[in-house]
């Protein structure tokens, strides 16, 4: 029962050896995988589950509640000048002493009740409650947003709001799932473009009568709330994906993806193409001083990035390219590394085919295009892969070369997300997974290709 732990074992291990090996391997793999499992389990918690038990492995999902009650309180209109006008401040006696958002002084008060029982009628029906509004008649400002406090019950039922006034009527575009427990401020946007509510509960409103946009505060007349039921499966799905939706909605990850793709593809195409051309000049064309020049070219590979970033940053700024795609792409596109790698590969290609092509009357360009490049597909693919990966993971340069959110690439965007939600680990893990998983899938399905490429070139990190 001897395992050759410390060297290459030509034969297959026997059953006992195999079992011991597997135990050791599985123990190591488990240690590697444990952090990922924690990541997924944390990302699957919605805010309530995370608050209740930030350390637990499985998100706890409360039983399905077809009947219950929500409360609404402190309804306000926000004007264009970011002033708040109080529209309603419901004061009803409270059954339970729920903590009130507006402070200790109001404890024991309970807002407008929104009770529902979707089972009683047999058919699901929207429960509703409405309230007449009487805003101060002298307010001439325009309201762009309504805010109110909502005491959620975590049921996942979806809230609809309808707002009526003199000559206008607004209705909810996408009902808000009430997945949270306890009081929370809800924003109803009357403008077509909502501003970033930073992971808060938000309802986008749409005009069904009258002009879209801001409405006069004084003309507000009535607000109605309605609830729509949700199935048990839908409720579970909503809760498990809550963090992902919040993360996705609080930062333009779609834009980050497009930026990353565009930048990485541009750099890859540019780098591979220009390197293949230069490598051909170094490997096959003859000119005086070629090899000395090549050594000088190689020497540029030793220069650390820290030396280059400061001047490149200044150049970008004076060219007016700071915070543009040009700044992200161009400085990252040229390196001696690709030229070096492809030159070494071109040198190994047999000359016979080129000679034959020359005899058939091909010029240098056509030899390059029709003989060298097709023969070098593996080397080109390896270089392209590494360049793409390098650009996809690039951090320093894209961090310093851009400023605005819409120019960020994925790693920088994720880093900004971290700045914004520094300790909300459920959101952070969800955002990290959003960034990580698509890339990971591509890798896992092409693993053989990548590992072969890494071992073949063996040079680049």
């Amino acid at each position: 029962m001897k395992i050759n732990w410390l060297g290459y074992r030509p034969g297959r291990p026997n059953v006992v050896q195999g079992a011991i090996l597997r135990i050791v391997l599985i123990a190591c793999v488990a240690t590697m995988i444990l952090p990922f499992l924690w990541m997924v389990s944390t990302a699957l918690k919605d805010e309530a589950a995370y608050r209740r038990d930030p350390m637990g492995w499985l998100p706890k999902i409360p039983p399905y509640s077809p009947a219950g009650s929500l409360s609404i309180d402190v309804l306000r209109a926000s004007t264009e000048d970011f002033e708040d006008v109080l529209l309603a401040d419901y004061e009803q006696p409270s059954a339970a002493g729920a903590a009130h958002p507006a402070g200790m002084a109001r404890a024991g008060k309970h807002g407008l009740a929104l009770s529902y029982d979707f089972q009683r009628q047999g058919q699901p029906q929207a429960a509703g409650a409405g309230h007449s509004l009487a805003p101060p008649a002298d307010r001439r400002d325009l309201a762009t947003m309504l805010t109110f406090w909502l005491r959620g019950d975590g049921s996942g039922h979806r809230l609809r709001v309808r707002l009526k006034g003199e000559g206008f009527e607004y209705e909810t575009v996408d009902p808000l799932p009430v997945t949270f427990v306890g009081w929370k401020e809800v924003y109803c946007f009357l403008r077509p473009e909502p501003f970033d509510p930073v992971g808060q509960a938000a309802i986008q409103m749409r005009s069904v009568e009258g002009e879209a946009g801001a409405v006069p505060v004084a003309a507000l007349r009535r607000i109605d709330f309605g609830l729509e039921p949700i199935s048990r499966a839908g409720q579970i799905w909503l809760r498990l994906t809550d963090s992902f939706r919040k993360a996705w909605n609080s930062m333009p990850f779609g834009r980050f993806y497009l930026n990353s793709l565009f930048v990485a593809i541009s750099i890859t195409v540019g780098q591979t193409l220009t390197s293949a051309m230069a490598a051909y000049a170094f490997a096959r064309l003859r000119w005086r001083g070629r090899d000395k020049f090549f050594v000088a070219y190689l020497a540029t590979m030793m220069i650390p990035g820290a030396v280059l970033i400061v001047p490149n940053f200044l150049v970008m700024r004076y060219l007016g390219w700071f915070d543009t795609y040009k700044a992200l792409i161009l400085p990252a596109m040229f390196s001696a590394y690709g030229t070096f790698m492809l030159r070494q590969f071109f040198l190994t290609l047999p000359r016979d085919l080129e000679d034959a092509a020359r005899i058939d009357g091909c010029g240098k360009l056509r030899v390059w295009l029709h003989v060298i490049l097709p023969l070098s597909k593996p080397a080109l693919a390896t270089l392209a892969t590494f360049t793409f990966l390098g650009s996809w993971e690039a951090f320093q340069w894209p961090l310093f070369a851009t400023k605005s959110m819409h120019m960020r690439i994925l790693p920088i965007g994720l880093s900004s997300f971290q700045d914004k939600f520094s300790v909300q680990y459920n959101l952070l893990m969800a955002a990290s997974l959003i960034v990580m998983v698509p890339t990971l899938l591509v890798f896992v399905f092409n693993q053989r290709f990548f590992t072969r490429g890494i071992v073949l070139s063996g040079m680049k990190e």
Binding site: I3, G7, A278, A281, V455
Partner: protein, 320 residues
Amino acid sequence: MMTTATRQPPVLADDRDHDSPLQRTWQQWRDLLTSLAFLLPNFLGVVVFVVFPVLASFALAFAHWSGTRVDAGAIGWAGLSNFQKLVVDAEFWQSFYNTLILMLGVPLRLFGCLGIALLVNQRLREVIVYRTLFFLPTISSAVAIFILWQALYNPDVGLINRLLGGLMIHGPNWLGDPAWSKPALILTGFWRSLGGLTMLLYLAALQGVPESLYEAADIDGANAWRKFRYITWPMLRPTTFFVLTMGIIHGFQGGFQQAYVMTRGGPAGSTMTVDYFIYNKAFFTDQEMGYASAAAWVLFVIILAATLLQWRYGRGARDE
């Protein structure tokens, strides 16, 4: 005049005997122009984005400049004062010390990767599954991994202190304690690189060791440890040399991304590496482009010296 060289079948453009001096010059010129055309796109890029910045950075190292204005008043000749300031800058030396300590992760990673390579080199049917799983941290987005580990290190809700708590150990405030922040970063780097490039290089090298050597050792009755010590380890020396060299080069100029995401160089500057120091001076705190450039050049010289030293004393391993 000859239209193209290729019209004469047995004679090839590159090694043709030229008939007349005129043809010879024309041919040489044409070759040169073609070469230039092939070279130019990449060459121009390298000149504009590598060579020029290097020269500019060198010049900047002797200047005071905030980088905000180009007029004469904004740029000042500094002479050697940037370097003089650097020599007595405690923050710089602290960052240098931090970088050296963080580089202890290089040999750690090396042995870890070798261990994993030895394990996944065994002929098990499902070994590709283990390789893929070990590979996951390497191919995951680095920022995501660092954010994940920052969460794992959280003293209150993090997984690590919870596991330690299960063993009745009161875990430290990993990233909040200057004594623990560097080990924490090293551990994260270790975990992330375990199944990565180094492991694959070792795996490839292991599979290149001739089996006959082990068979001969078996006949001599060598035990597993002696086979490793006298066959495997010497046969892996070129790989080890390469991994160490690259590890040291990357170690000196690395660490910014990890420290930026996990600790912002803190606590108390305990994870600020040299390149973090440079970016800090240039972009975050001071906007001193000249001072940052001077520090970058000092870093360059240190890397160069370390590489040359290693090249000199690692000759045996390199030439094998």
